[in-house]
């Protein structure tokens, strides 16, 4: 029951909503939240390449967001690079880092892959936290200006929103194209049947590694936009909780679909902002959602809710024998 990667109606509706959003919401605060959602969505999309299409569960995806953000701010605000060259160096170096991390993580698969990505990610966090002379330690790194590409004033929330939305559009197109390409198709083959793929002569390792690097590249793009948005970065951007939030976005939206992570990103960012406005216990909630999803909705939050709705409807109408939740959607995340 894997949803088709392309669904033009969904595409158009989603695009229309995103485009008119600044007119629907009035206050700048909400436009800024929309920008946060778009940036988070790019990160979630790139992680979904690994999880949904490659079956590689990474708990270190914040590495690419954080490193790109640190590099962008360090290069442009502290090392005297221009905006364009700074952005270029930040993204390309982060992609090189993804090559190294991909090489190390893909020495294992499954749980081992997860452990290595987590360890690498947390070591990076430790570096950012402890190497205070370079990264500012716990105080983080700030002082950067948003660029003015083509004379656009990115300090204007609405213009910034369209700026990041443009990147999300490009990311969606590229990732959709990637999934349909021969490489993307074979990646899904290695997810489902690694041994068969190997027998058929595919270089499973290379396919997974290239996809890992591609995902790292888009994580870096998200990091660049993160740096532009906050104009500040602290070790928190590299922390395990950031990776876990990205993972939650992917799982919440339903893995293996193109649009799922975007919806998941919206859910998590909105929830986080709403909760933080009232209480300071976001982390407990994050943990509780993880436990609840795994125990009660192993297919993911959105498909899980849909399945529950279907179940309720069946209970109320026409006395059909209720099917169990996991029987309704066979497509389990985990």
């Amino acid at each position: 029951m894997r949803a088709p990667a392309f669904n033009w109606v969904m595409w158009l509706v989603g695009l229309a909503v995103l485009l008119v959003l600044p007119w629907l919401v009035t206050s700048e605060y909400y436009v800024n939240i929309a920008s946060q959602i778009v940036i988070a969505a790019i990160l979630a999309l790139s992680l979904n390449l690994l999880i949904g299409f490659g079956g590689m569960i990474s708990l270190g995806h914040a590495a690419y967001l954080g490193v790109a953000a640190y590099l962008t701010i360090y290069l442009t605000a502290h090392a005297g690079f221009g905006q364009l060259s700074g952005a270029f160096i930040a993204i390309s170096s982060t992609t090189v880092l993804a090559m190294l991390f991909g090489y190390l993580s893909l020495r294992a698969s499954g749980l081992g892959f997860l452990m290595i990505t987590l360890a690498l990610g947390q070591i990076l966090w430790g570096v950012a936290y402890r190497w205070a002379s370079l990264t500012g330690g716990d105080n983080g790194l700030g002082g950067m200006e948003r660029p003015h590409p083509f004379g656009l004033d990115l300090n204007q929330p609405t213009i910034f929103y369209y700026f990041v939305l443009f990147f999300l559009g490009v990311a969606l197109l590229c990732i959709a194209r990637f999934i349909q390409s021969a490489l993307g198709q074979s990646l899904q083959g290695t997810r489902d049947q690694p041994r068969r793929m190997r027998t058929l002569g595919y270089n499973v390792w290379l396919i997974q590694w290239l996809s890992f690097v591609f995902a790292g590249f888009w994580g870096a793009v998200a990091g660049l936009l993160y740096a532009y948005y906050h104009q500040f970065v602290s070790p928190q951007a590299l922390h395990l909780t950031t990776s876990a939030e990205a993972l939650l976005m992917v799982i919440a939206g339903g893995t293996g679909t193109l649009f799922g992570p975007v919806v998941g990103a919206a859910l998590v960012v909105i929830l986080k902002n709403v909760i933080s406005a009232y209480i300071t216990r976001w982390l407990i909630l994050l943990g509780a959602i993880f436990v609840a999803i795994v125990l009660f909705m192993p297919e993911g939050l959105l498909p899980g809710l849909a399945a529950w709705m279907r179940l309720l409807r069946e209970r109320f109408h026409g006395g059909k024998k209720p099917t169990s939740v996991s029987a309704v959607t066979k497509d389990r995340v985990l």
Binding site: L111, Q122, L295
Partner: protein
């Protein structure tokens, strides 16, 4: 010269603490294929429980027992009522333990506030041990002694007892072990309980050296992961050697290049994963 000896002993002490944490983690992973991401949180929670016990008037040794017992009970409940329901779904189990780790971490901030607290040292172990003109804290020597004793006890348990034979059989081939009539579900409970107790007691033991603070969990967890990646899955010797290696690297690194102590941790991982992905003493790839 003195510097190298003192830092070496510091590294040994830190590696000892790491071993107490990582041995349980490695056993649980090796036998049950569960990457228990709550393990760092158990360590921290154990330390906080011990701290509260001492502040309520208990002595240090009772506090260690209480810390270990509390986490042992918590771990057993989690294993029995959550992890066992997810049997055969390793990734679901990982995510649950991650969620539990977040819940424990935030609850600790809630209960014990965000300030770092030092667990007071037992009075009989304060002071320094002097050889020639070198002075070394007795408490650290004690921690090293505990870790070596624990390593010997675990070795005896695993290699010389009937229970250990069953655990080793389970690590090597779970299906076969079950077919031979070993009650693997009971084995799982025992190992998870033991690992949790070690994490909790280890947290109290670490309290006077590392002190307790929010973030202790995520400081220790990746080190435990690195130890297992280095040493190999489910291998006691691997956990021991890996802990000491990381302890030394960390200790010398922090003394020589404080900024880069964490960067150096990449090095052994890169080497082992490149040259020997099974880990130094592991028989299967992680």
């Amino acid at each position: 010269m003195n510097f190298w000896i003192i830092q070496g002993l510091n590294g040994l002490a830190f590696g000892s603490l790491l071993f107490i944490l990582a041995s349980g983690f490695s056993l649980i992973f090796g036998l049950m294929r569960i990457v228990n991401l709550s393990h760092g949180a158990y360590f921290m929670l154990g330390a906080y429980v011990g701290l509260s016990a001492i502040e309520a008037g208990a002595n240090f040794w009772v506090a260690i027992l209480l810390g270990g017992a509390a986490i042992c009970i918590l771990g057993t409940l989690i294993e029995r009522f959550i992890l066992r329901r997810l049997n055969g779904q390793p990734l679901a189990q990982v995510l649950v333990t991650l969620g539990i780790a977040f819940i424990i971490a935030d609850a600790c901030v809630w209960i014990w506030t965000g300030d770092p607290r030092r667990v007071p040292m037992p009075s009989e172990l304060t002071g320094a041990f002097r050889v020639a003109h070198l002075a070394f804290p007795i408490y650290r020597l004690f921690v090293i002694g505990v870790a070596f004793a624990l390593a010997a006890a675990l070795w005896f348990l695993l290699e010389r007892s009937r229970l250990g034979a069953m655990i080793r059989a389970g690590v090597d081939d779970l299906t076969m072990a079950r077919a031979m009539g070993i009650r693997t579900s009971l084995l799982f409970s025992v190992v998870f309980c033991l690992g949790s107790a070690l994490a909790g007691a280890g947290g109290v033991l670490a309290g006077p050296i590392l002190s307790v603070y929010p973030g202790l969990d995520t400081d220790m967890l990746p080190l435990a992961l690195v130890v297992v990646i280095l040493g190999g899955v489910g291998s006691l010797l691997g956990a021991f050697v890996g802990s000491l290696i990381i302890g030394f690297i960390y200790s010398y690194g922090q003394a020589l290049f404080p900024d880069l102590a964490y960067v150096i941790l990449f090095l052994p991982m890169v080497l082992v994963l490149t040259l020997r992905p099974t880990g130094l003493f592991g028989r299967q790839a992680i």
